[in-house]
Symmetry: C2
Subunit: 247 residues, 2 copies
DNA sequence: GCAATAGTGTCTGTAAGACAGTATATT
DNA sequence: AATATACTGTCTTACAGACACTATTGC
């Protein structure tokens, strides 16, 4: 194996949320020779920022660039990398750090948690160099993951929902032009609650981030919905400064 | 120097806020042979959680136990430990990690930021083993600090204010029994804004975390204020679940 | 005309924020 | 009496949340 210098005892873990058609999923992977599902993660190179390390990890699996990553919490407890289910001898376990090989299983890693949210319908999953499998999982079908990764997902969800509540989303999740029911479904799916149509529309229009277009989209045997786009400046400003409270 | 095993390239930095008598201060220190003020920080032992590492760092300087620490952000950029003002040869710079000596200056450290808030009047500052000086600084008198530590303080303040806005504080900052003006001054100082007396009292009483006692405190040539204590259960519950929005 | 979905306005309750006059303790 | 600080209630306004009928399209 080629010797690459990574910071030892440090990793990044990514909770990659994917949205498509009223479904919210999480990207999970299996390490070769390991057999347990886990979050995509990786290590930090000696000359790399932690944010770029997290972006690289996400890019390796999804091919996506320009992801909007959010750091949500850092985990560091000597017990967190113990998992009694691991058969140590079978595990892909040697990794070169600073010229010496290290057991990546069962040794203490401090891990920086990031999450991101993306449209998953066009993502073609690629396996990383040490991956055996990689797939999207619906939130209610997440298996028991390695280490503390189930907890990371819980924490990331809380952070994501908080974010959605205070900052605009949707630019990378919806088409350029979208309907009010579409963006409402996005919010409802992420927040896992239903929102009154009239109140939703009132509120989001008042925030100013949407522009109503003089176009409609014909979909099915019913009244055609109007199309909207994001107001670029207002959207960017709200992303900077936040919105008092959204939904 | 004794060989202690620490996780390399990883540190914790503490923003220790101290409140006393309408003043909010930050504890800063100077490293021996360095000459620049910085946040108290330290390294993580091989068998230690990052939270305990941060507690140990705070304990070393303040002697305080049972601090309520909050992790707010992790910093990791190869550029963050560069500081052109450092005279490298003069710096206390050798530290033993994993049996080998490492330059702690100018090498890449990922740092986990914690903040805490404590009453500072009874704290007797102790110098850590590598400290030259350690003192409280008012927020508007903070000098230019090493590395990105001024930014850490900014971020910690935002996190602290957010926390104060959504969770109860005061148990470790006020005496067992306190007056309404006292707790209001605490909020006003931390949030750096004045709050209407009538609205403050209305709001905090409605939250249920205060119990009005049938006692008054005689202080000075004016009407005696009533005393209050925290409602233990309500306080604990609010600390768990948060309060919609406070001030 | 039937089925399906989109569009829209009003009312009510609650909470935030502005605001001023009275009460009490000390000297 | 004068000074200093504490105590308290009402009004206005904005927003959240509940709620129902009409409009359009395809078949």
């Amino acid at each position: 194996m080629k010797s690459i210098s990574y910071l030892s005892h440090l990793s990044v873990d990514n909770v990659i949320f994917g949205y498509h058609n009223k479904q919210l999923k999480v990207l999970l992977m299996k390490l070769r020779n390991n057999g347990h599902w886990m979050l995509p993660g990786g290590f930090v190179k000696e000359d790399e920022s932690i944010l770029n390390a997290a972006k690289r990890v996400a890019h390796e699996r999804t091919g996506l660039d320009q992801l909007y990553l959010n750091q949500f919490k850092t985990y560091g407890d000597p017990q967190r990398n113990k998992d009694s289910r691991i058969e140590k001898q079978k595990v892909y376990q040697k990794y070169t750090f600073d010229q010496k090989e290290v057991n990546i299983v069962d040794s203490y890693f401090v891990s920086i948690g990031y999450y991101t949210l993306t449209e998953f319908s066009k993502v073609e999953i690629q396996l990383g160099p040490v991956d055996e499998d990689c797939q999207w999982f619906a939130l209610d079908e997440i298996p028991h993951l390695l280490y503390d990764h189930n907890q990371l997902i819980k924490d990331a969800l809380i952070a994501l929902r908080f974010h959605v509540d205070h900052y605009p989303i949707g630019k990378k999740l919806l088409e350029k032009k979208f309907t009010m029911p579409e963006i409402q479904a996005l919010y409802e799916t992420i927040l896992e609650k239903s929102i009154d149509r009239r109140n939703f529309s009132k509120k989001i229009m008042k925030s100013g981030i949407l522009i109503k277009l003089d176009e409609q989209r014909n979909i099915g045997a019913h009244r055609a919905p109007y199309l909207y786009t994001f107001h670029e400046e207002k959207y960017a400003e709200a992303l900077q400064n936040g919105i008092a409270s959204f939904f």
